[in-house]
Symmetry: C2
Subunit: 218 residues, 2 copies
């Protein structure tokens, strides 16, 4: 059984690797993301290497072993499932979910996570629009796309919001938008970047700022 701290190191490593696209990370980088000193990371790296969770040689780059990836992905899965739960069931706002999910992600219980997943109807994305690994550790690869990035004439699905202020949310409701709604982008003004969109057969005009705060799945 991994400790709370070991799980955090693996998760941080996975996040760096997913962000970097480079598949490896360095000691300082990892120390920064965990808010600890490089010396501390160095110690932990030795321990994780001993347990065959990371590949790492003195002065070399750090990568996750298959086993390490498995653990890290599971923690990420739990984190994102809990975020979704807090957001959808317990009325947490977009910016409140992270802190509590950081704690909940370390609860050990297979049944708990299975039930959580089922209760949420096996969601694929969390409230930030990030993909939730499934039970087998598979992550839907995708580029985080906002409504502003969608090609004219195509239809997309709203999966999350970036801005969670009440003024923005009220605006979202006014436009007739909700999670998982289909949105068709009718046109875009070159001059001021206003978008004409269609939701449930109703056309609306929204600004670039608005469109950039809506995450969609193309």
């Amino acid at each position: 059984m991994l400790s709370y701290t070991e799980e955090n190191y693996l998760k941080a490593l996975l996040k760096l690797i997913l962000d970097n696209t480079s598949n490896e990370a360095g000691t300082n980088e990892l120390a920064n993301s965990l808010l600890v000193k490089p010396a501390t990371v160095n110690d932990m790296l030795k321990k994780l290497k001993e347990k065959d969770l990371v590949n790492y040689e003195k002065y070399g780059k750090i990568t996750l072993t298959l086993e390490g990836q498995k653990h890290a992905t599971e923690v990420l899965r739990k984190h994102r499932l809990w975020e979704t739960f807090l957001y959808e069931v317990f009325e947490f706002s977009w910016d409140e979910v992270h802190e509590v999910a950081e704690q909940l992600e370390h609860i050990h219980s297979v049944k708990l996570i299975d039930q959580l997943d089922k209760f949420l109807n096996y969601p694929e994305f969390d409230p930030h629009g990030d993909p939730i690994p499934n039970k087998h550790g598979e992550i839907k690869v995708h580029f985080k796309k906002t409504l502003f990035d969608v090609e004219i004439g195509t239809t997309c699905k709203m999966v999350a919001v970036k801005d969670n202020s009440s003024s923005f949310l009220q605006y979202v409701v006014k436009v007739g938008l909700g999670l998982n709604n289909e949105i068709k982008v009718i046109s875009k003004q070159d001059y001021d970047a206003l978008l004409v969109i269609e939701v449930n057969g109703v056309e609306s005009i929204v600004s670039q700022k608005f469109a950039e705060n809506i995450f969609v799945l193309a």
Copy 2:
């Protein structure tokens, strides 16, 4: 902010005190309930005393200060709310809830617990029939009573089951019983202790063994 371990010491102390009815506990007793050695408890006691969470003098008995009670009650509240949640929402059985609740009780988030409480509609008892402290730390004092202890002629409410085996649960359903149902005890045979009860206007005969596995509120 109290550590996971400190919270566990306070909770264990509160449970001993609630069970003892004596309002105080000893080092060995506490060590047994926490599965650690008395020497360890001694160290922690000094720390908790320093933080004004317990009253304790060398070779004396241990009690909780008001502040210590507050923390302990809050942990107990969280534990029992989570048990109720796991049982009612996530289909955990009576005997599976404890282990996971032991972990969940240490999650720090006022909003989380408020929402949990609200979601469960402010329950007063957990699946074991134990009272859940409310937001202000108030615990409904009650004696854990089974259906067998109920006086003849009176009506009570089923609040929990002790035995969670499927054979017992099937029997419970057959008798037409469910959580929060009203049960009237019609009569009791002196000879073999069989009980005649009435649920929703229907009479049934149940054994002493059955009745002792149903927790009720008189």
